[in-house]
Symmetry: C2
């Protein structure tokens, strides 16, 4: 049978909340990969049925052992498969025949083993689909549902204490994922789910994460990724997390290695895969952690129960220097360290020591050891300031004062509903755990606490998942067959984009000098001439562009020059004629483009024009479609974005008009699946708004 | 008496290696600030004499207590002063009278207490100087010489175990410094010296650090800074550390807050103090740690005994993903992850599991638990590769296998002399300490291990302290009084710089249209005209520049225009005339400048020209004087440096010629202490080399 969406969902839910688990190939040696799930299930107190399968045994660890899959009783919800690779397909087929809806395949020897392994994995995937068995893995460590003591895993992580908690963690890597899970345990944050997806022959990252985030006991989702095929799934996951109000934190490796796309045009060559991934997850409100430490730091902030209503950071320290360091970092990561209101300053002055500075950061010095109320009242005054949305209290050592300090922080926590973190450097071991029990996030380094506060603020500042513009088709211009692959003639591409609302410089095709002169007269001003050929994407490279021609002789000579250049530099090219275009105004150049990403579909790019795009790679991406505010955010991301506001006496330009161009383009691109590539380079921008003066549009069958 | 340099050095050495320590204002309550040094000295086994001074006691903790300073015996090398602020000056005077050469002043209530405190501190400094007593502090935690159990401190750090070790740590912050010292202890790295300099009324950071790095037991120097007055001292310290082959790691807070200089010209406005500090310490081979965690990570790498002969990083992991993450980070921090030589690959293939990738990173998978030789031989093969200069081995958990793994790493350490680090995520507590005892640096996170390896490689790649060019004066041009403050007329500034070897576009001053026309004829090509006035620094802002004039009428009219513009936009300005300058060639623009930094003296700056310098702040700084290689390194730092190599069909320019300009300028600037500011903006650069086409030079008395 093929699984429908809802039966798939049901099967996943049965798998992660099983009332009966079979272990295929179970070993009586509980230290082995195929014995460890039994050990964990028994040790951790799983209350469902545990059903080992192995013809060699009658019983393992007091559990009745079944000789084969066919002998299993009814009602098995998931089977762990720990048999040699060569026997996996038969096992999965038998599980299907026995009505077991899901298999967690530990066995390695598949896609990770070269071409032969990949072929075997494809056969396994097909067999599982035919058999109606959902696959987790192969080559995975399995999963843990800590709420119900389900340990369908041989991960080292399960060897230690594993209390359940509000974090769901899904990982494509077994070893790295186990390390991250162990770090979650070290911090005492509490892992509700741990799932290693392995080779993802069946269930992929996003589907499993979508399943576990629905659990009301889960408050935060965390994922470790190495690759991603299902961009739509990731977007769906991100939106669902937003709807549920549960933050999603992702770490993805391969930030630098991802190369340029093979068939990219010269702007598209910048569209490295990681930049696209990064842009998309930001667009949909996902937090990205650059490594496992930052992931843990973010999880700690997001797992504490309080929301953050803005970007104002209050800092109280025992060290002026630590305060400066944290304020520096706050500025770098987008937080403000606001000046305190006069009323707050008066409150602070009441109990601050004479030499303490009463600003923000507040330096409470070490005196609070003698006068605990100093710390307590300072921090509460800081948090009561309307400009402060989250606070960090920095201290160090204080080995002899843990009880006093924990009591102070408990009282602070009770007297405010804003989040505050404690950064306790070289803390006595008991302190962090006791603070975490109070719902207070604890860090060991000031900059890390600031970064985590910024993540919390960014998450709560994110827009709800709802508002998304729809794709918007534009009528295809006459004379163009939109089903034909290849470069679209400029006149028609221009017309099509104009119909989609994109401001395009008008363009006319002239077959000869006379026609070009007539077109120039029609423009009533200086014109540019450009060679037009379906075989020439980059006109300047063949000497195919002439600018600022403004008399009949020059236009006529220009046409001759362009034709001669094309004949010399692109001898085989089919020449359609010469484009005549009035010179556009605007003192700034941008590059705007659309690329069809294999994972995420149509991606719109904007970048600084001229040499900047090449040397600085100063570009911003978003997945289509998106709204005008998203377009504005793209412009904010450009390092050269300040040019839009006018420098060196140049006038500012209308950012919103540029953002509208980007949004309109994104809606049209999303409705035009055959659009493979589009370069608007340059888009000239002046006080009158943007206008695209060159356009290369390529169509391609998205299925091809 | 005033201390001479050598008697100062002697006094510092007596202070940090005292045979007798007095504690002025000693308390019988050993938990108080003024009792704690006695407790620590007794507890830690200080073998010199301990001499408490307090009229209230005859004896404290079994030590004879002196009623006053005058009663102290001969031979006291240092006194800890822990009396109220109002009594400190009298104590210091009495110490001088009694022949005690140094005082460590714990007392607060000085410079940190506003204007009155600052005045008191100045009086204290003056009194100490008169009395011939070196001051450490006031408002400091004191110091520790752990080798000789000298605990002249009340720092919390001294409450715990404090084994001596190869790191000397000097800190301006007490609280933050204590935290860092505690982190050093947590890692078991070993702190030989801990010194908190406090308000630095006498001994400053650099002088104390210079004293302790001479100790042969010290291998690494670490400093925490909040501010710095003595730039020359820091440079001297950096050079001495290089001579001794001892790395110096500095953390300085205030990266963002430092504002623009008050009297900066428009390029100088970029010369924020932290950028200058950062450039100078890099120039002299100091490593900068951005925060306390990075400092510890670097110290761990630098304290292990092995040098790193290059930037090639070998990575062996138990997780492919961790390998990718580390390779990403390596690329970002300037390490390479080289492909392995064929011989290495063959060696790896012998013992690698069939599915392990044999590249770099080497994925040894988890199989080494069963086959320890897999890990051992893989890592040794990796380290034996000539392209690999340092290696990192990544693993996680392995709680049950600590003995096996420590034995493997010990054998690897014995069989190679290249440095290798272990990154052990969520390590069992015993493991890191055991590896550190083997001389192996250990990290808990992959990216941090990579950053530390990069620091080690950077340190060993640094040039020796020796080679430094000398300052080189150039003859002052006729008609200029170099002692006069203010803006130097362009013709003379140009001549002066030409004499210093700087390629300057020729310039002539014309008083009227006729003279300008004559000068244009003399040029034999198109010219630029520029208004010349000692009151106008930024000529374009008053409409004072016209370009590309190439006929007599245009030149004559141009002079009239400039004079009219100046009269309108700068009505009070004294007009010297109009400069006539042939149009310079060169397709690129740089900005070159000199600023006199109050801490570091003449700083040379180069930046991308045009709008880039304003929007991107794309500039590099170095302290003058420096050599041509340093100039090349400055160009390498520019983000837009790629423009120098030619983009979009532009020719490459001669980087060395630009670097020579920078070096020559630096040598001249270093020899010209009255040079307050110099802007060469723009310097045009073409295939023929650089030429400065505009010059604003300001002289000022450096003592004023």
């Amino acid at each position: 049978m093929n699984l429908t969406d809802s039966s798939r969902t049901d099967a996943i839910q049965r798998m992660i909340h099983p009332r009966a688990i079979a272990v295929i190939g179970a070993s009586a040696d509980l230290s082995k990969v195929n014995g460890r799930p039994l050990k964990h299930l028994l040790d951790k107190g799983y209350t469902g049925r545990i059903l080992p399968v192995n013809p060699k045994y009658r019983e393992i660890a007091g559990l009745a052992c079944y000789p084969d899959i066919a002998s299993l009783p009814d009602g098995v919800d998931v089977a762990v498969v720990a048999v040699p690779a060569s026997e996996v397909i038969a096992s999965v087929e038998a599980l299907g025949a026995r009505g077991v809806p899901a298999a967690v395949v530990f066995s390695s020897g598949f896609g990770e083993m070269g071409a032969a392994g990949r072929a075997l994995e494809q056969r396994l995937a097909a067999a599982a689909q035919r058999a109606g068995v959902l696959l987790c893995g192969p080559n995975c460590l399995g999963f843990i549902n800590a709420f119900e003591n389900v340990y369908a895993t041989f991960s080292q992580y399960a060897d230690g204490e594993t209390g359940a908690g509000p974090i769901a963690f899904v990982t494509q890597s077994g070893a790295f994922g186990t390390a991250i899970a162990a770090l979650v345990r070290q911090r005492g944050l509490g892992l509700g789910y741990f799932i290693n997806t392995g080779n993802e022959a069946g269930l992929a990252f996003t589907e499993l994460m979508l399943a576990v985030i629905e659990d009301p006991r889960i408050r935060v989702a965390a994922g470790y990724l190495e690759g991603l095929a299902d961009g739509d799934g990731l977007v769906r996951l991100a939106r669902r997390c937003r709807e549920l109000g549960k933050p999603l934190v992702l770490t993805k490796v391969g930030r630098m290695a991802a190369g340029a796309r093979a068939a990219a045009s010269h702007t598209g060559a910048l569209a490295v895969q990681d930049a696209v991934f990064d842009a998309v997850i930001r667009q949909y409100g996902v937090l990205r952690a650059r490594n496992e430490e930052q992931m843990l730091d973010m999880l700690e902030a997001l797992a504490q129960p309080r929301a953050c209503a803005g970007f104002g950071l209050g800092i109280a320290t025992q060290s002026g220097g630590a305060g400066v360091m944290m304020a520096d970092r706050a500025e770098e990561v987008g937080l403000t360290v606001p000046a305190l209101e006069a009323a707050t300053q008066r409150r602070l002055a009441e109990f601050m020591p004479a030499f303490g500075a009463a600003g923000n950061p507040v330096d409470v010095t070490g005196q609070f050891v003698a006068r605990p109320e100093l710390l307590r009242e300072s921090v509460i005054a800081l948090l009561d300031d309307p400009q402060v949305h989250v606070a960090i209290v920095w201290l160090q050592l204080m080995t002899a004062h843990v009880d006093t300090l924990v009591a102070i922080f408990a009282e602070i926590q009770a007297r405010t509903d804003k989040p505050f973190f404690v950064c306790w450097v070289a803390a006595p071991p008991a302190a962090p755990q006791r603070l975490r029990e109070l719902g207070i996030a604890v860090y060991g380094a000031g900059e890390r606490a600031v970064e985590a506060a910024a993540a919390l603020a960014r998450y709560h500042a994110g827009r709800p998942a709802a508002a998304q513009p729809t794709a918007a088709a534009a009528p295809c211009p006459p004379g163009l067959d939109p089903r034909r692959d290849g470069m679209v003639p400029s006149v028609q591409a221009t017309a099509w984009l104009q119909a989609a609302g994109i401001p395009m410089a008008p363009v006319a095709l002239a077959r000869d000098g006379d026609a070009a002169v007539a077109a120039w007269r029609g423009c009533g001003r200086a014109v540019a001439l450009k060679i037009e050929s379906p075989d020439i994407a980059h006109k300047t490279e063949v000497g195919g562009v002439l600018l600022k021609l403004d008399d009949a002789a020059a236009v006529r000579a220009g046409v001759a020059t362009l034709l001669a250049n094309a004949a010399r530099h692109a001898p085989g090219a089919r020449i359609a004629g010469v484009l005549v275009q009035p010179m556009a105004e605007g003192h700034l150049e941008l590059v705007v483009g659309v690329q069809r990403d294999p994972v995420f579909g149509a991606m719109v790019m904007v970048g600084s024009g001229g040499v900047l795009v090449e040397v600085l790679k100063d570009v911003a991406f978003r997945r289509a479609p998106f709204d005008v505010d998203t377009g504005l955010a793209m412009l904010d991301e450009l390092r050269m974005g300040a040019l839009l506001d006018g420098v060196r006496g140049q006038p500012a330009v209308d950012r919103r008009a540029v953002a509208r161009l980007l949004s309109d383009l994104s809606r049209w691109a999303a409705a035009t699946p055959r659009l493979a590539e589009l370069d608007l380079n340059p888009v000239r921008v002046g006080p009158a708004g943007p206008v695209a003066v060159d356009c290369v549009m390529v169509l391609r069958d998205p299925q091809a």
